[in-house]
């Protein structure tokens, strides 16, 4: 997929979140917002799946496709496998930074628009800290897995991790990171918000590590002992 389409996808994703936030039930309710309240919870999780799941997977698939294209020609030109790998990772990192950058700009725009409403502090936390971090982690996961030599298994693993990622907060709503963050902010202050964020990140990192270790034959670098053509 062309990087321009990925940027477009990222922008569309952001707009979906903005619209979902604005039209979700409870968004005007002082006690519960679309992003933070129980009424808006399923929509929140659906948008989360879309943002943190669909976009990174599309990006990773594009990256993997790009990696496969002209593979030997690239290898020859780079001169060695480490240089080739470094160039691949560098390109992926640049794309990731670009897309996360677009996402952050959208978030800041949304936050500015919604600054007049209630609970902006929690939304700000959710949008600027939690979602981008989750997205980066999922991107990392998707990048690693789609480069594996067993793409079907890898895609299944990505889907499973994302499903678990969505199901856990649905099943344990009081412990949803946003709720935990909101409660912590109300009762304990921003130090506890940071702690809850770190906890979420640590859990996701663990899930990602397990997924990678269990499914990968990494990396998918061509072997110099290939087969005759």
């Amino acid at each position: 997929m062309n990087p321009r389409y990925l940027l477009l996808l990222s922008a569309v994703t952001g707009l979906v979140v903005v619209l979902a936030t604005l039209i979700a039930p409870g968004s005007s309710d002082g006690g519960s917002t679309a992003l933070g309240g129980p009424n808006g919870m399923p929509l929140n999780d659906l948008t989360w799946i879309f943002v943190a799941g669909v976009c990174p997977i599309a990006l990773a698939m594009a990256s993997a496709g790009h990696g496969r294209g002209m593979l030997w020609l690239r290898l020859m030109r780079h001169g060695s496998r480490p240089r080739w790998l470094a160039a691949e990772l560098s390109r992926d990192a640049r794309r990731l930074v670009t897309i996360v950058g677009v996402w952050v700009i959208l978030i800041l725009g949304l936050t500015a628009i919604r600054a007049r409403g209630p609970h902006t502090g929690v939304e700000f936390y959710q949008l600027c800290v939690n979602l981008p971090l989750q997205m980066i982690l999922c991107l990392t996961l998707a990048f690693a897995i789609t480069r594996s030599r067993a793409p079907a298994l890898a895609k299944l693993a990505v889907a499973a991790v994302l499903a678990v990622g969505a199901a856990v907060p649905l099943a344990t709503w009081p412990w949803n990171p946003l709720t935990a963050g909101a409660l912590a902010r109300t009762q304990l202050g921003f130090g506890a918000i940071l702690a809850s964020s770190l906890l979420v990140i640590a859990c996701e990192a663990l899930a990602i590590t397990i997924a990678i270790v269990s499914s990968l034959e990494f990396p998918a670098i061509p072997s110099t002992k290939g087969v005759p053509q």
Partner: protein, 212 residues
Amino acid sequence: MTEILLSDVSKTFKGRRVLRDVTLAIEAGRSYAITGPNGSGKSVLLKLMCKLLLPSSGRVVIDPKYLSASRTFPDRFGVSIDGPAYLPGLTGEDNLRELARIRNRVGDVEIGATMDDFGLERGRKTKVRAYSMGMKQKLSLIQAVMERPDVLILDEPFNALDTSSRARATSVLRGHLKGGGTLVFTSHYESEVSDLADEVYSIDTQHLVKVS
């Protein structure tokens, strides 16, 4: 001066021997044609020459000016083997730019000029996925030639090309040789082989045999 030296090279894949005791010295500024039936191991031999495959036994030595200690694959080699998979969602020109950016030795001007040489239209918006076999073949040749390499290693460079395109390709390769470049290619086209090659070899039952 020897640029590539194969000494008693054999290659086996999962117990099936493809090449046996191949010895060949590729000298600078000369051209070599390798012929043989399909599946005889011509492409394998070319891959061995550019270190994309390692021999099961024997040695492949490449001039250190192309293969320094920090490199696994030789520099200043232009290679087209097995019709490489391009990025189907990009135009041919964009594919070439992607490759050119790696070494950063040529820009749009040189890419465009090489496209003209092979008769592949510049500025065309057609994605590679919609390319014909002949256009893909031209793209493969252009990427191999565009950076003005010293050594060209081409697998069936004339396949899928029409008569006029074959003449263009032959002319470009002749220019490469006139400029002191080295050429190793495989082909089934006798006219191009006799036209371009200083030495002709054939792979016969796993052995490389000099024909002329």
